[in-house]
Symmetry: C2
């Protein structure tokens, strides 16, 4: 069965030494890829790892293969401090102003539409956001797609040219929160938090998702 | 390094027998997930596998967690024959009318927007399409996102109620074609085929994707 968790893997290269490392089955990566909003801010993400995430986006499908998306990657403490105030966090948690200092993202990938290439992104930003976040999870990180962004302010901070339009921001880091998926009951889709900070996300059941 | 291909994996359960099986690293799944348009039509996809793909969608992010998407799954020969003529294939291959009999998809997942839940899908259909296609690849299948669909006709064929709007169709099967990714040169983003049928897809280089 496919319901395993952590697994130890090695190259199929019997002629040389088999090098062991840890990897996960896809569905486990997808399940572990929750929307994380609190991080160990001191845990940096290297430029190499951020580029690996963009590489995952690069190999993803694009409507009519036009590939109009570009990516601004950032892991500098100074720039992170400027980017953070332009983002709105967890709309349903009205009592919460977003992650406190020390629990903020240690990196960002900003998805941009290059309007010199195409006027629309179709759903390319969804496809590539998923690829990048899954890659982040496999690398031991996690993140959240943020669409509520002060775009004009952020564009100025990043010094973007006119043709690059901000679509959404991936906030990334080493997750510092427990996220639990529950079966959704009676259209109660709002996520919520226990007093101990455990974050609950109701998801529609497979029965509800599949049309007969 | 992460540039390995096939790997043998086993559960970390040292008390019982370690059960070995084959799995792949995420980036290899993403690279193997090309837009396949020709299949071994006789290679059926079970309902269980289709449901596993929807399960991958279920655990994927949704804008404000509203989860307005529903999924019509189909692996019946009779319904497949009715669905196929409603789809347009590979816009750039103007000489090609789509896969011939025997090379057509053996299953479909149709992504639907439930307008009783939300008027828009944001980019949820991109996120979940990627999850489902990656899951298909891990299961040994592959597919293609088709957005050029005779929606009204297909809706009647499926007998969909008014609130379910067709967003896009995933055509699925066991791939019967070789797809090669090349570096894109001078904005030549159109995919093309060699005489022997090898399908080439130009992708923008990492250098072009990352904004400095």
């Amino acid at each position: 069965m496919r319901a395993f968790n952590w697994i130890i893997c090695g190259k199929v290269n019997w002629k040389t030494n088999v090098k062991y490392f840890v990897t996960m089955a896809l569905l486990d990566i997808i399940k572990k890829n929750r929307s994380y909003r609190r991080f160990y801010e001191e845990a940096a993400i290297s430029e190499e790892d951020l580029k690996l995430m963009v590489e995952a986006a690069r190999y993803s499908a694009s409507s009519r293969n036009i590939q109009p998306l570009k990516y601004y990657i950032c892991n500098s403490v100074e720039m992170n401090e400027k980017i953070f105030p332009t983002l709105a966090w967890a709309g349903y948690l009205t009592e919460w102003d977003g992650p406190v200092e020390g629990e903020r993202p240690s990196a960002y990938i900003i998805q941009l539409l290059d309007k010199n290439i195409s006027a629309t992104a179709s759903c390319d930003h969804g496809i590539t956001a998923q690829s990048m976040l899954l890659q982040a999870v496999e690398l031991g990180f996690g993140g959240c797609i943020i669409a509520s962004v002060k775009r004009e302010t952020l564009s100025k901070i990043l010094g973007l040219p006119e043709n690059l339009e901000i679509l959404q921001v991936l906030a990334l880091g080493k997750p510092k929160e427990v996220v639990v998926v529950d079966d959704l009951v009676e259209n109660g889709y709002k996520y919520w938090r226990e007093e101990d900070g455990t974050h609950h996300v109701p998801k529609r059941t497979l029965d509800e998702l599949i049309v007969k």
